[in-house]
């Protein structure tokens, strides 16, 4: 690994408070191409502009706090390498997520997403067997050896509630009440057979039929949730139930 640093210009969306006029500020810094966008943002905050606000916590994709738009595409800044989004002497444009209320600069209020996840009682932890974890995307669960005491392993689910899918979704762009990819995925994971309340919600005005198959949610999901696949599977399940193919 070379220690050569790159000169990169960050073009960052600035806005103080939800009602003020946004503008962009440019910061040119020296940064290692193997570092992550979030490291650059933190560097800028530490040495260039203390007034910058941005969300972050775990820096390794388990918390979902650092979602933002990098060159127009939704990314977790903590896992996006500088080398993957620009070149030496290049630029990186950073904007807050779309379809959420702005708090300031790169910070949005993810509250609406968390509240909807709460309303569909999305599980905070799940049995390992309920969540396949092999490979990219949805694949059958790999056999995991039983625990020493025969109990189930418990794990945190794939969805980290980062809001990238909601930001990328064209339906969420103009309908704030649409449940959105993450929430529909949370309904799918729980099963509509076991949860008639979720079946009613998924088959409602804010449910699965409002998806326009842009598949942007799955394209930007950093955590293998594949919400688009889950929405389509929900459709299949709902059609089967309503047509009584399956009780």
């Amino acid at each position: 690994m070379s220690d050569e640093k790159w000169t990169v210009t960050f073009i960052i969306h600035r806005q103080k408070g939800p009602d003020s006029q946004p503008h962009f500020d440019e910061f040119t810094i020296e940064i290692h191409p193997e570092e992550f966008v979030l490291d650059g943002v933190e560097y800028i905050w530490a040495y260039k502009d203390r007034s910058l606000v941005f969300r972050h916590a775990c820096h390794h994709t388990t918390c979902g706090a650092c979602g933002m738009r990098v060159n127009g595409v939704e990314k977790l800044a903590c896992m996006t390498k500088i080398a993957d989004v620009t070149q030496d002497g290049g630029k990186i444009k950073l904007e807050p997520l779309r379809n959420f209320p702005i708090v300031g600069d790169l910070v949005v209020d993810l509250g609406p997403l968390y509240r909807k996840m709460h309303e569909v009682h999305a599980p905070e932890v799940i049995p390992l067997c309920a969540s396949p974890w092999e490979g990219e995307g949805i694949k059958p669960p790999q056999e995991t050896p039983k625990r020493e005491d025969g109990e189930e392993y418990i794990r945190l689910p794939d969805c980290i509630e980062c809001g990238l899918c909601v930001s990328a979704c064209p339906t969420a762009a103009s309908d704030a009440e649409y449940l959105g990819p993450a929430v529909l995925a949370a309904i799918h994971i729980q099963g509509i057979d076991e949860n008639p309340d979720l079946l009613a919600l998924a088959d409602s005005r804010e449910g699965v039929w409002r998806c326009h198959s842009a598949y942007e949610c799955s394209a930007v999901c950093p955590s293998n949730v594949d919400p688009a696949w889950r929405i389509m599977d929900l459709r299949k399940q709902i059609i089967a139930r309503r047509l009584k193919f399956k009780k």
């Binding site: 702005i102 599977d233 059609i239």
Partner: protein, 130 residues
């Protein structure tokens, strides 16, 4: 949530702005544009067909004026292109809605879109060729 006023026409931009979109997003943009175009055409078409009831002179004069305008031919090709793109992509969405081939939605789009392009080329040659 942003109020309607703060949002402005942002939603329109988000529906149709192709920057940063993946294949599925581009397919959505195409689908929505062709849908709106086809609806416009459908109702204009129905409206102009009314002239068939006004006898041969009126209708033939209408056709003659249309034939003389190069825009009509191009417009017709647009309708055919829109119909092909919307129809073939519609097949993809319909299949996907029964959870068929969702992991292959990109390949499906490439395939069907190629088919649409071939169709458009065929009609273009048919209409303007020779």
């Amino acid at each position: 949530m942003l109020s309607r006023e703060q949002q402005g026409l942002n939603w329109l931009l988000q529906w149709f702005d192709p920057r940063g979109r993946s294949i599925g997003g581009l397919a959505f943009i195409l689908n929505r544009i062709t849908a709106l175009g086809l609806v416009l055409y459908l109702y204009l078409h129905l409206y102009y067909l009314r002239q068939l009831t006004m006898g041969p002179q009126v209708w033939n004069a209408f056709i003659d004026s249309a034939e003389n305008s190069p825009w009509i031919g191009i417009g017709e090709l647009f309708v055919i292109a829109g119909g092909l793109i919307h129809g073939l992509n519609g097949l993809r969405i319909a299949l996907n809605s029964f959870n068929i081939a969702v992991p292959y939605q990109k390949q499906l789009f490439y395939g069907l879109f190629t088919l649409a392009l071939i169709g458009i080329a065929f009609f273009a040659v048919h209409m303007f060729g020779a």
